[in-house]
Symmetry: C3
Subunit: 316 residues, 3 copies
Amino acid sequence: MQITGTFIDEISHDIPHQNWGAEEWDTDFAHMKAMGIDTVILIRCGYQQFLTYPSNYLIKEYNCFAPPVDLVQLYLELADKYGMTFYFGTYDSGEYWKTGDMRHEIDVNLHVIEEVYDSYGHYKSFGGWYLSLELSRKTKGAVTSIAQLGAKCKAVSKGLPVLISPWIDGKKAVMASNNELTKDSGISLKEHEEEWDEIFEGIKGSVDVVAFQDGHVDYTDLEGYLKLNKKLADKHGLQSWTNSESFDRDMPIKFLPIKWEKLLLKLNAAKRAGCEKAITFEFSHFMSPQSAYKQAGHLYNRYMESPLARHRRGTE
Amino acid sequence: MQITGTFIDEISHDIPHQNWGAEEWDTDFAHMKAMGIDTVILIRCGYQQFLTYPSNYLIKEYNCFAPPVDLVQLYLELADKYGMTFYFGTYDSGEYWKTGDMRHEIDVNLHVIEEVYDSYGHYKSFGGWYLSLELSRKTKGAVTSIAQLGAKCKAVSKGLPVLISPWIDGKKAVMASNNELTKDSGISLKEHEEEWDEIFEGIKGSVDVVAFQDGHVDYTDLEGYLKLNKKLADKHGLQSWTNSESFDRDMPIKFLPIKWEKLLLKLNAAKRAGCEKAITFEFSHFMSPQSAYKQAGHLYNRYMESPLARHRRGTE
Amino acid sequence: MQITGTFIDEISHDIPHQNWGAEEWDTDFAHMKAMGIDTVILIRCGYQQFLTYPSNYLIKEYNCFAPPVDLVQLYLELADKYGMTFYFGTYDSGEYWKTGDMRHEIDVNLHVIEEVYDSYGHYKSFGGWYLSLELSRKTKGAVTSIAQLGAKCKAVSKGLPVLISPWIDGKKAVMASNNELTKDSGISLKEHEEEWDEIFEGIKGSVDVVAFQDGHVDYTDLEGYLKLNKKLADKHGLQSWTNSESFDRDMPIKFLPIKWEKLLLKLNAAKRAGCEKAITFEFSHFMSPQSAYKQAGHLYNRYMESPLARHRRGTE
């Protein structure tokens, strides 16, 4: 299963910034392209007061800072140049992470979605929306929020696809600020099925693609979850992608690139589960030859030597 | 607001060593010079048993280790070579961090100050003193200690300037060994004013420059503190510099280079507040093109492309 | 005291992987050789479900994953090529770390030892065994386990030497997942002597070499422990090596390369204590010029410039 999409983690919650300029981003898109990536997904357009684009609305209403560069424009131009599809990630005020209630984020994003499509919707590569509010089973107001925001995205953009990337409440679902790497108990497959069946029922029509994060469960348990997610997605008419994390959740440094063998295991499990597409969080820190983490460049090399990439080259 | 000074973080509390030799330090001073840095400040001359110079006094009386290289001599030679001013940072036995009582550090430093000026005072670049005991409002014995040590520095060196760099007890004032990035409550502007008015009253005459660390309060609150610090410094006849931290306090890896946008915001706030000079903690790990953290080199490039550096070049 | 051996940390507990391929490993062995390393020690052949070699036994009985590369074969070929001795590290199911009872690991390893010697014992460089179960004084079942596994190793391989590398229960003996860097109290020299005298009595005959980890006690206390360990080893007919850690235990990032001065201090203490050999944990992350941690390459340079390496060159 080849990786054909990646998040772009600007603005970051917990991954230190690389301080790249336009030149480094251009080089990075070229590396992505060489690896077979055709889809880039902005993880969020803003977090708290930091923004990726000079939003009049957010600067005025939310006291956000005017950014030194318009990254949304830069990414769209690069996606145009390299023939990729760009998904726009919505705003995250930070409130949701404190309260666990996603409804805080609805109103602001209804405005952002309009503003952004007005400003950037004309780019050829503007091809979808990513609802950046990461949900899991216990997220208050998730169904309402996702349904309402997804519907808005589709309404303003003549039906462009909407992507979400929830997490499984598995044993590795701990906060980055938490010292521990695991918690005692994760959700069972049965609970996961019941709860997500209900969630999917509530959001279908507003969302097109669900790409579960693949790093919160044990490597041996992953395939079971991927298959179940695929079954549920099929039932509700959603596409099932895998969001294959390229950072390592098993190490005390939070976070450095994942061991190649682990990524390979996860991608093989996704293939067996029938996922339609594999994306990763994320290329530029964890798989790029120019990453500040040198392990990322080696991961890129291992990937490029592997049958996954050989298959890609064979089909070009 | 241009950065014209930097700390040199040898011996380090919490930043891993780069293991540089004389050649790498020479290159680093050249990078600093190219960026407009005219002042280097040794963060401390020793911490617990590790020393930057072969102090007879500390080796004999405090059981310190004889260092493999005399870094104080090396830095002074390089400062001479590159036409910079060197500030000598006093000794930190480590006791103060355990007890919170700064008076432990007075006696040892009265000896160190004499020994050091005897050995190194003749260097052209030896231009000031840095009292390495980082204080905040609740530090026991701070006023006595700072006043006494500052007076001693001036007495032995015919009045060379004395610098301190306190921290604001803001919401990000947590220990590096603490997992959390913030605490629930920080000091209010009003409390800060009252307490520092009193502290400045007690240390004036012994101290010339106060450079508050700028990383412990929210980005939006910083300007208020900088302005208040400037007002208080003016009232007591002190210079007000900003110590603009070039590492990121908002990330779970403690610590990697700061995002360029954040540094820029802080420097702009310091300019508006009327700070006389901006220094940073610190160039060699967090802004240097040869740093082990590649993000640092990119931060350097962003800085050099910015109006801050353009202004510098224009005035040469 | 020159470093002439290193662990190879694949599979890792807590050090992020570098994602090297065969080419990088070949280069790394060349760097090791240039530094005077003649012994490489596989830290463990597998951890939980991840393996370094395609073990039929572990894949079938323990549900382990078939690895993408046979690292044991690769390392043996490189050790043959560079004229080094290879020590094979036993399997760690992970159970021991949860329960503190080492007896879980006996049965599985009795099988692994046989399987491995059958498959790889013919390599010229296959020269010893490393019992990967790190013990300290309170490890349940340690004496039984070590004695039984060591005897098995010797029986299958016609007496090849067996190495263990315990830790001293000093003040820095805290888990990597623990935020704190130290605990309040460590073992006293007297307790250490009594307890290890008893342990050595129980394992002698099954073990040839004891290489205590040197990073869990204060730099000033280390020499006392090294001397005591040497005395106890002599008494029981064991060799006493030092396992001189090349990562820094004093920093909040767990873990980056150690400061050169600290490594030098520890090696000098080991020399004074009369250790027969110094090995390190470990070269590839923390001392290699091609490490992802650039500080490691500088540590290599400092080491190569030092009298330790000059002595080596002088005796060639």
